[in-house]
């Protein structure tokens, strides 16, 4: 047992190195890599036998080749006629059943998806068909994020690699809070929608109140969106990375992410509305059926953007303590926020409020280390006074002006029968971009 001192030092050094490595791994910022499913929606790894949806549009191959929420519009448009949907649901289920993923192939597909934690792989293997909806949901979330922030300095930039949002997610800023909430909501929305459309075997419409009479004389009927299943699934899948690490060191970021994920899910739940249809003689409302339906995802986006504007900054220490005490279970968390005026926030923090722990950078100047692209080169609106105005967007650096030839069809008229004749108009537009 006579080790030389140098050996001992080397041994100590190794141990400290190993310890610090472990420490680093544990404390390293958690990036929710599952979100890349929203980008690689049609990547080879996800080529499940595509469910044959009559309403569901083909997912776009890349994000950029489609307007931010074009897919969303078509999706929600399809939802409007629920009656028709009900008719086709049965056909779907029949055709669907022979396309179910076998246990073996599910395992292979789920293992091939990069960036999932073990709990997520388990969920994936248990519900291989739902993964497509998760991917749709993540994409919806990202598109909605880009739509909501198209006029802001931070415009929800995504990268094409696995860590979709780059270094942005390493900060616990308001933007991160929004990303977590909106992607989580996207998953709920997509999964619930898939349930109603009958694309999934493990869930269907919410039949809980089916056929029950309501006090006002109408009946519950139709296909209520099964939001409970959607929320439950999203909770299992989306929260998994945070819970995996949360077990031992209670990381503030994990708590923040969990809260914001839940806020996103709750946002959909609070926006659920009722739709009714009258079946009386010539459409009179003597007979009425009602069902609960989800908001459009654009509405969810607007709602979450509102929450983003009023996001609450938390003091990390106090935050953890209260979260631990209340174990996320109580209805209200009375937490002291870091308010600018150093006054205590009196209103209790609601479940749908977004929270963050870091201040946001100003996103003005490019900083590759922090994943900030800067606003140089962004198109700004000279006549606006909002966040897209040249004054605010360019952070006082001024703007350049370019003349762009804008060709459009104009003076269209209808010629009998059946033609529309148009002229082409060329206008020169001034486009302003930030310096």
């Amino acid at each position: 047992m006579s080790r030389s001192p140098s050996d001992r030092i080397a041994g100590n050094l190794k141990r400290t190195l190993a310890a610090s490595l472990l420490f680093f791994l544990l404390l390293r910022p958690v990036t929710s890599n599952w979100m890349h499913l929203g980008l690689s929606g049609t990547s080879p790894s996800l080529t499940l036998p595509p469910p044959p949806p009559p309403f569901q549009p083909k997912p776009p191959s890349t994000l950029s080749d489609q307007a931010p929420n074009a897919g969303l519009v078509t999706l929600t448009a399809g939802l409007s006629d629920l009656q028709q949907q009900m008719d086709q649901q049965q056909q779907q289920q029949q055709s669907h059943s022979n396309q179910m993923v076998t246990q073996g192939s599910a395992r292979a597909i789920c293992a091939a998806l990069p960036g999932l934690v073990s709990r997520q792989i388990q969920v994936c293997q248990a519900h291989p068909n739902t993964i497509q909806s998760v991917s749709d949901g993540a994409r919806k979330g990202i598109q909605q994020c880009q739509h909501q922030f198209r006029n802001e300095r931070w415009n929800c930039t995504t990268k094409d690699d696995q860590n979709v949002f780059g270094a942005t997610l390493e900060r616990g800023s308001r933007e991160t809070a929004f990303i977590y909430a909106v992607t989580s909501a996207g998953v709920v929305h997509a999964v619930t929608q898939a349930c109603s459309l009958g694309n999934l075997t493990e869930c269907s419409c919410d039949m809980e109140r089916q056929g029950l009479p309501a006090p006002d004389g109408w009946k519950w009927g139709g296909c209520s969106d099964n939001i409970r299943y959607g929320i439950q699934f999203a909770r299992q899948f989306v929260d998994a990375p945070e819970k995996a690490i949360q077990k031992k060191p209670k990381n503030v970021r994990n708590l923040m992410n969990l809260h914001n994920n839940e806020a996103g899910r709750k946002a959909i739940a609070t926006l659920m509305r009722m739709q009714c249809r009258c079946h009386g003689v010539s459409g009179s409302c003597e007979l009425k059926t009602c069902w609960r339906t989800m908001p459009t995802f654009a509405q969810v986006g607007d709602y979450l953007k509102q929450k983003y504007e009023n996001a609450v900054q938390m003091k990390p220490t106090k935050f953890v303590r209260t979260m631990m005490q209340e174990k996320m279970s109580s209805k209200e968390l009375k937490i002291q926020s870091v308010s600018s005026s150093k006054t205590k926030r009196q209103a209790p923090l609601g479940k749908t409020d977004l929270i963050h722990i870091h201040k946001s950078p100003n996103y003005c100047v490019e900083d590759p280390k922090k994943g900030i692209l800067g606003t140089s080169g962004r198109v700004c609106n000279k006549n606006s006074t909002g966040s897209d105005s040249c004054d605010l967007l360019c952070c006082g650096r001024g703007y350049n002006t370019q003349v762009v030839r804008h060709v459009e069809r104009c003076f269209c008229r209808f010629v009998w029968c059946c033609q529309v004749k148009c002229k082409t108009c060329v206008t020169m537009l001034d486009v302003h971009t930030c310096k």
């Binding site: 100003n362 006082g396 002006t401």
Partner: protein
């Protein structure tokens, strides 16, 4: 031995000269007259003539006189009374500049006047957007102030503008006293542009911005009318042209400041000429894809410094100690104003008069209120 001595002497001389080589000689040459804005301040021992707005004595004290070029002195001599208008205009320009930039990192600081030095400091030696704005505003102010002085009868050699633009309307006629913008522009061209001779880009930049300032005044001229019918009815109406409010000119120039276009340094070869020909040239933009500057646009060819830190060489005071707005995300917000250095928050008690009431006759009684104000200042 003697050769080493010569080398040493050479090096010493070089070291003395080098710092001055950095700033191009005479870059802000045409700006010397700005010192006229300080005429009438107690430290100048100015003849009281300016203070009292007397037009009889147009000669200045030696300090202000020294700021003028020979041609400008001649102009002042030829147009008695004009110097008062020019000084008034320059002062107006300075206060307008400070107003327009009060919320920005560069807040248009001016130095106390001392002979031969520039009023706005070393920023004028650069060729950035701020410089462009100062030149345009100064030139606009002289145009504005001289035009107004003409119609007020303060300058002996000009009067109201009686030349009518276009025919009268169906229910109105030209009449009254129009502000003499023609004289204002002509005078400003001669006076303000007096120092801008040569062929290099800096002169062209100055000329362009000076002219842009004048164009902003002349295109904002508006028609004003008055009714002279029975008990003020509009059966008889006379109209005249009135100068815009100088605030409007300042606002427009500030807009142009934001959209100022950077031009190529290689823009040269202006044909030396007088009169209108002098202003007939098109500057090429730095980036060929960008729009070429129009007559109203401001031009520059050097990037602005960021004005964050104190830099004596560039004459920048930095934003330390500046008051900022905590809630704004714009340039007046603490985040951008303080350049990320952070800020301190103080609560100050402000004593002001409040709840004033009028008592017959004739008294106003007020209470004294103490309110607490939170002030954020950059670190």
């Amino acid at each position: 031995m003697s050769s080493t001595r010569t080398t040493v002497v050479f090096i010493v001389v070089l070291m003395m000269v080098l710092p001055y080589l950095g700033t191009a000689k005479g870059r802000g040459r045409g700006s010397k007259w700005w010192g006229i804005a300080r005429a009438g301040e107690p430290n100048n021992l100015v003849s009281n003539s300016i203070k009292e707005n007397s037009i009889t004595n147009s000669y200045l004290d030696p300090d202000v006189h020294a700021t003028l070029r020979r041609k400008q002195r001649r102009l002042v001599r030829d147009h008695p009374g004009v110097v008062v208008a020019v000084a008034k205009g320059a002062k107006q320009a300075i206060s307008e500049c400070k107003h327009q930039f009060k919320n920005r990192r560069w807040n248009c600081p001016t130095k106390d006047f001392h002979r031969g030095r520039n009023l706005f400091g070393k920023i004028v030696d650069r060729a950035c957007r701020e410089t462009a704005f100062i030149y345009a505003l100064m030139s606009a102010a002289v145009t504005h102030s001289v035009s107004r002085a003409c119609s007020e009868g303060a300058i002996e050699s000009c009067t109201c503008d009686y030349s009518q633009r276009g025919p009268s309307g169906a229910d109105w006629e030209w009449g009254g006293c129009s502000d003499n913008i023609q004289f204002g522009v002509k005078f400003s061209r001669e006076f303000v542009d007096a120092g801008e001779k040569g062929r290099d880009i800096r002169y062209m930049m100055n000329l362009h911005n000076n002219e842009a300032g004048r164009v902003h005044v002349s295109t904002e001229m508006r028609q004003e009318c008055k009714c002279h019918g029975m008990s003020g009815s509009c059966t008889v109406r006379t109209c005249w042209m009135r100068l815009p409010f100088f605030r409007v000119v300042g606002d427009n120039l500030k807009d142009r400041f934001d959209g100022a276009s950077r031009v190529l340094i290689s823009n040269t070869g202006r044909t030396p000429g007088n009169g209108r020909k002098k202003y007939n040239y098109q500057l090429k933009p730095y980036n060929p894809e960008h729009k070429a500057p129009s007559k109203k646009d401001l031009v520059y060819y050097e990037n602005s410094p960021n004005f964050c830190e104190k830099n004596l060489k560039l004459g920048i005071a930095g934003t330390q100690g500046r008051v900022c707005n905590e809630t704004s995300i714009g340039v007046d917000g603490c985040d951008l104003m303080c350049c990320g250095r952070g800020y301190k928050t103080e609560v100050k008690e402000v004593v002001e008069r409040c709840a004033c009431t009028f008592h017959w006759c004739c008294e106003v009684k007020c209470k004294v209120c103490r309110t607490k104000k939170t002030i954020h200042t950059c670190l």
